[in-house]
Symmetry: C2
Subunit: 218 residues, 2 copies
């Protein structure tokens, strides 16, 4: 194996997975293509070409919201995976409320999970955030509940992974977001994860960077 | 959906995936079972029941190495995913050299990737570490090269994900580890990731905790 530059490896990876998508007869639509490809790049799992769902113009609206916006993740792992340099170039920031002592206190007082308490903090402190949920179905359920009460986050990325309450939580957030006209990107079924949540944020960031400077990404 | 405690959700998740493994005729062997199940729990991807490879007693030796040992990850995302409380209970610590300015300088001076430079720092600073590689094939290749030169880390977890050099890097580390008698856990094929690397570390940590206190995990 010759020494290859990371940027060349990424370009070659995208070429390979694009060719395989075509060979499998999987057609990606317009603005969703960059997101689906980056998730497959992150997981090597072509199931995401079929299980990711986007509300109309979710990508365009997510990209807009990133400029000077705030990404809120439900795990520190997803937070770690979001490209901070790319986000900073757009004037954006990223936060995770999960491990704050204040969140733990509020969860204890309310008898809720920390994930659900963290959602209330996001609503109170950064109501126009992009919410990236890769782990906690209870976070998605709380977001849905608060949206019914009037909250309108900029974008909901709903991609928890797992075997209990996960499928239902994603169906619920999808129904609420489509009904209330809030942009959403959701992986239906069991699959997802903090890595998938971060990959979707990064795909939006790179798309935004490409719009600012088309030569910056291939 | 009723409110269910996280520990109950995890138990129920493990029951569901165990039943599905049985239904699919997938039989897991002894000490590897906890690791494979945790990776499937993290990814909802049953492919890991077939692509994870373990050298003999890799789990037992990894568990031993965690007591007072050091886990070195190749990404901050994997580092974030390793359970710090579980690790601290065993007197262990976790590190990632990737983002250190010193690593960047050494990579520049050597004309290598930062991932490869980070491996040299691990060898120099924590030679008996558990190496958890979820992202960079160049890290695995550098580990293989240094093992040929005499290095003997405690355990190599080789689970990068991707389309270029990834399959080859995992086949190479597997060959070197098996030939030199170094414990290894490798996901053959394209799949893996920082989340998988962290899940394997956590499975070892929980196995170790269970050995110390069998009532602590189900």
């Amino acid at each position: 194996m010759a020494h290859i530059k990371p940027a060349d490896i990424e370009r070659e990876s995208m070429n390979i997975l694009t060719a395989e998508l075509t060979a499998r007869g999987m057609v990606l639509e317009g603005e969703t293509e960059a997101v689906v490809k980056r998730v497959i790049h992150t997981t090597a799992d072509f199931d995401y070409a079929e299980n990711l769902r986007f509300t109309p113009q979710a990508v365009a609206r997510g990209v807009e919201a990133l400029r000077g916006g705030v990404v809120v993740t439900d795990t520190h792992m997803a937070l770690s995976g979001v490209s901070k340099p790319a986000l900073a170039r757009l004037g954006g920031t990223a936060r995770c409320f999960m491990a704050d002592p204040e969140t733990a206190e509020q969860a204890k007082a309310a008898g809720s999970t920390r994930a659900a308490a963290a959602v209330l903090r996001a609503e109170a402190e950064v109501p126009a955030a992009i919410l990236a949920v890769g782990n906690a179905p209870t976070a998605l359920l709380r977001i849905a509940e608060r949206m019914e009460a009037g909250w309108r986050p900029a974008l909901v990325i709903g991609v928890p992974v797992g075997f209990v309450n996960v499928v239902e939580s994603k169906e619920r957030i999808w129904e609420v977001c489509t009904r209330l006209g809030v942009p959403a990107i959701v992986s239906l079924g069991r699959k997802g994860g903090s890595n998938v949540a971060a990959a979707i944020c990064n795909a939006l960031l790179y798309t935004a960077a490409g719009l600012l400077d088309p030569s910056s990404r291939n």
